[in-house]
């Protein structure tokens, strides 16, 4: 039920953009942009791994994990700030609602943060690596939890538009990532 509610504004937006035209064209653009963002994150990960392998002749798994953890945090911060800006533009300036592309981008960023946290956890579990301050674990948990809380509010919202949830979510996420970066360095 909630999912259906959440999809309604998207359909309305698409229909509004195309008049009475069928929805295939906007959806295909959205899929391509989804794919683009996914490829961007995946390509970024591959680049970091290649960089680690080239910079250290005998690239141990730990170094790859360390570099991924380091760079994904910065990528997450940049994406969170960009998404917060886009959310402010769509929600406050254009008074619009959440679009399918925006929601999927939020899911991809949540996935990136989950991967980031799993990398950090595996560094701790398998290599006994510790962050600069123990509270880094708390901020790491916060980066994973912050988006789902607000995605839940948006996807179950009866009052539309509901872009405010993402303004909150991405702003908090950016702040938490920043604290996580500051407490992670030894």
């Amino acid at each position: 039920m909630s999912g259906q509610n959440a999809e309604k504004p998207d359909e309305a937006n698409n229909a509004g953009a195309q008049g009475a035209a069928p929805l295939q064209k906007p959806q295909s653009i959205v899929r391509r942009l989804d794919l683009g963002l996914g490829i961007l994150v995946a390509g970024f990960i591959v680049l970091v791994i290649i960089n680690s392998v080239l910079s250290v002749p005998s690239a141990w798994p730990f170094l790859i994990l360390h570099d991924l953890h380091y760079h994904l945090a910065r990528l997450g911060l940049a994406l969170a700030l960009v998404m917060a800006g886009v959310a402010v533009y769509i929600g406050i300036i254009r008074k619009g609602d959440v679009t399918p592309l925006f929601r999927r981008a939020a899911y991809i960023i949540f996935g990136t943060m989950l991967l980031e946290a799993l990398i950090g956890l595996s560094m701790f579990v398998f290599f006994s690596a510790r962050p600069g301050q123990d509270v880094h674990f708390i901020y790491g948990m916060g980066t994973v939890l912050s988006l789902p809380f607000f995605i839940f509010v948006e996807s179950t919202a009866k009052k539309r538009p509901a872009m405010g949830s993402y303004i909150w979510g991405f702003t908090l996420l950016a702040g938490i990532i920043l604290r996580a970066i500051l407490t992670g360095a030894p």
Partner: protein, 249 residues
């Protein structure tokens, strides 16, 4: 019996009052499923846990109960009680739900921080110790510690609870309707201010008032809640008042 102090007695009374109050509000939430009742119920349950921890800390040192005492009293009670008022007064869009999620996120992050990652120095503790007087010696201070959340959370919660109650009381007075609710809201405002006043007095060097303020605050909010909800089942009046509040006029 060194542990039976004034602070101990008022903590026990406060714990009993908040425990009963929390049960009543949570029962009301189970019956009506209104989100403000859930927020208040959680806030009162945390108030109860904080006072219970205070009673236990009068007898025995426990880092877990100390962490719970600090987490509930300094970080969580005021914002959760304020969240109930935000639900009632801020009905535009999803603002109240977003506030709740932010609060939930802070709660989920700070609880393990207080329980597992904050070092406590128990050398300042002794049976019957005044916790409000010694907590600064027990916990580390400075930016980047869990104590840095306390001012933000308390200001947020107190403004929401006390400000919301004063706003509602003034509204009922202006509209000349539901005198019970008007008086109830004044009492809730006074009850919400008392613990904050106690916190101010601690900083001024008189910690003993804090315990009395906690107990009296809980009792005043309880009486205010009972008065304010006395006419809650009067559907017509409630609906008109609610729509007025939602309209913000």
């Amino acid at each position: 019996m060194q542990t039976i102090t004034f602070a101990f007695v008022v903590s026990v009374i406060g714990a009993i009052v908040t425990g009963i109050f929390a049960a009543i509000v949570l029962k009301r939430w189970l019956e009506k499923r209104r989100p403000h009742n859930l927020a208040w119920g959680i806030g009162l349950a945390l108030y109860f846990i904080g006072l219970l921890s205070q009673v236990i800390l009068s007898f025995v040192w426990s880092p877990i109960f100390f962490a719970l005492w600090y987490w509930t009293g300094a970080l969580m009670v005021a914002p959760w009680l304020g969240q109930g008022t935000i639900y009632l007064l801020w009905r535009k869009g999803n603002i109240a739900r977003n506030f709740q999620m932010a609060l939930l996120l802070v709660a989920v992050m700070t609880l393990p921080w207080a329980l597992f990652l904050t070092p406590f120095d128990s050398s300042a503790w002794h049976p019957g110790a005044d916790m409000t007087a010694i907590y600064r010696d027990i916990m580390p201070q400075g930016s980047g510690t869990i104590r840095s959340f306390s001012p933000v959370m308390n200001i947020w919660g107190t403004i929401a609870l006390v400000g919301g109650a004063i706003y509602s009381a003034r509204l009922f007075r202006k509209k000349q309707i539901m005198r019970n609710r008007m008086f109830g809201n004044w009492l809730i405002a006074a009850g919400g201010l008392l613990p904050a006043l106690g916190g101010t007095l601690i900083r001024l060097g008189d910690p003993s008032f804090k315990y009395f303020a906690e107990m009296a605050g809980a009792i005043l909010i309880f009486i205010g809640f009972l008065m304010a909800t006395h006419v809650a089942d009067d559907a017509q009046e409630t609906r008109s008042a609610s729509s007025s509040l939602a309209a913000g006029d």
